[in-house]
Point group: none
Chain length 208, copies 4
DNA sequence: CATGAATGAGCTTTCATTCAT
DNA sequence: AATGAATGAAAGCTCATTCAT
């Protein structure tokens, strides 16, 4: 490995790091103001540079959103794949997936908010087709998981599967809107309580 | 009733009706494109008139959102008040409130989507302070209801109350994003399934 | 004179009267807000009707200004002609013209303000060419009068004639901006004081 | 002075100079077309840039007018203060103030025209309150000066003081409407003739 | 005569984007 | 890398004007 090569790597790494910083700032602003309502200047202000300077790093506002979302989704799917590959039964798989989801929110809260609030609108553009793909894949995963759970006798059979799917999907991700990393509950705490609610319900169990 | 009176009423009613039509069109577009991303021309196109003509009826884009949201919230709270005044126990009250919520979604789907997706951003403006008020009132109502349910022995006591509140709040309203009036399930069907999930959980009951 | 004829006259007179009322309202608003900054709705509000209704009486906003200005100028020139035809010497003529000018202001204050403030801008349009004509005629009249006064030994010969002309022209008309018909001084009072200043100056005469 | 400091100053100075250029162009157009009748595009055209570009330098059309007027008024009052502080008698003070006024017109003709024609309308807005303040201050200065002149035996006592004030105020400033820097007469020439007229009057002195 | 809904051109302003420095 | 001035398209909004009633 030549010194030249090393320099280039160093530079490339530095550049990647700067991009990550800027994207973090952008994600925060996009999440709190909404993507369309956020101006490039607001992003730049949050990053401590001027508007024009962002274009040295990124092609466009859209490409920032793109990179924020795809980074998050890639990581999320990687964690899901790990769970799905570990041979757990349906009930255990569901628990693990939910735990991973709340951990995703913990690590990528602004990206998740962006995903939750804007993916429907962004998905219209060609470059965001992967959002639809991810959506379909998500639905397929959960649908299969719920079916398997019913087969395995873990989940009730008398509920509308589509409804249960939407119910779980929405409640998990919508939590990103109020989750505060510094708050009282950790992501794992929330996951545990959430699973308790979803699996056992909130009504008091009849005294047996 | 004099003819004069009749005329005046007719004109006022006609005007109110036209406003309602235009607001329905606006709500639809705001809901599907997002408020900030929607142009006044898109609203006007949806209403079949020209952009400038909307300003004969409304002061601004913002005042359209205002009227859409306040109309919806007023009606929603009226229905909640009816439930709360009818002397039901906590469990019954919860069921009735959930049913009313899904009926609200059925009648005002675009307004609910707007509320769900944009109220956080809009609430920054002075004129939308009532959104925060409504939010607080909503939280107070549910918190009191959940506490009463625990006291009455209807709801489990081992769950985090704040978490349960958010869980219920989000899952009810987020449904507006996918609800289709013409779909397979009626609002009351969805409410019933939703209550089954939330109250009893989705896991299969232990072998009897 | 047939009854028919009488009716028509009555109608025409009524129409003319209505026009005059509306023009008076328009002139007032044009004068206080400025022509360009005045909306047709403001004029209509001042007249107690709706914006669209003005177009039954007038072709356009411009034609209102046109009629206001030409009515005023016609009357003003008629009064000037009367003075000029009465065989007075230069000094007497000047006094009479100034008196007539302040009386014009008294009768047509808003029109004079409009003339003073907007004629320069309006004169760009073809239909307002008469404003330029009036302006030239005004200049010719005063220039001739001042020259005659010098010849007759009534006016000083050591002043720049062009400057004196502008001085007189401006000070007379600019008074319309502050003149209040209900004020302390009548038009004739003002004319008298004004003439004293212009003719004799404001400095105390050296003790003789 | 460090190079760093120099750079900063250079940049700030360059920016101020650009603003001044753009304001000069704006003032010219405002003065010739009228403020309300001038479009931002006309200003931009006069400055050789595009309409949107003006907003890099200024917040709004209004803020351009604001800066034009306040710059002019500040300079004018500074020159007046210099005169008032120099211990002249009333007659000399008046002469000096008039001279300074015509010099103000010479240096800021478009600003003076704007002031003359639009300040009444603009003063309605909160941000232009200083126009009213300046107006009151102007009146107080002249009123006091005229009174002092009467006391000192320099000015006639038989004229209405309010009228004399308006007479002088208007005739001085209205000159901005026709003054041409490249014309036959310099500002000081005009001031001299103006003072001759106002002080001594235009009538021929009776041969003694 | 007057209304009131609608038109459509044009306005001020915003903002993503470019580019010479 | 970053600046900052400029671009230019498009936004929200205004308003003179029209016209069926």
């Amino acid at each position: 490995m030549s010194p030249r090569r090393r320099d280039t790597e160093g530079t490339a790494a530095a550049r990647a790091e700067r991009r990550a910083e800027l994207l973090a700032a952008a994600a925060e602003v996009f999440a709190s103001q909404g993507y369309a309502a956020t101006t490039i200047r607001q992003v730049a202000d949050a990053a401590g540079i001027l508007g024009g300077s962002l274009y040295y790093h990124f092609d466009s506002k859209e490409s920032m959103a793109d990179e924020i979302l795809s980074t998050f989704l890639n990581e999320m799917w990687a964690s899901y794949e790990r769970v799905l590959a570990s041979g757990l039964d349906a009930r255990e798989t569901m628990e693990a997936i939910v735990v991973e989801s709340f951990r995703s929110i913990e690590r990528h809260r602004p990206a998740v908010v962006l995903y939750q609030n804007e993916s429907k609108h962004l998905a219209a553009g060609e470059r965001f087709r992967y959002l639809l793909d991810s959506h379909r894949r998500f639905e397929a995963m959960w649908t299969a998981l719920l079916d398997r759970g019913v087969e395995e006798g873990a989940f009730r059979a008398d509920l509308d599967r589509g409804l249960v799917y939407r119910f779980i999907r929405d409640t998990v991700w919508v939590a990103a809107n109020w989750y505060q990393p510094a708050g009282r509950l950790s992501a794992d705490d929330i996951a545990k309580q959430y699973l308790a609610m979803v699996l056992e319900g909130i009504q008091a169990t009849r005294a047996t």
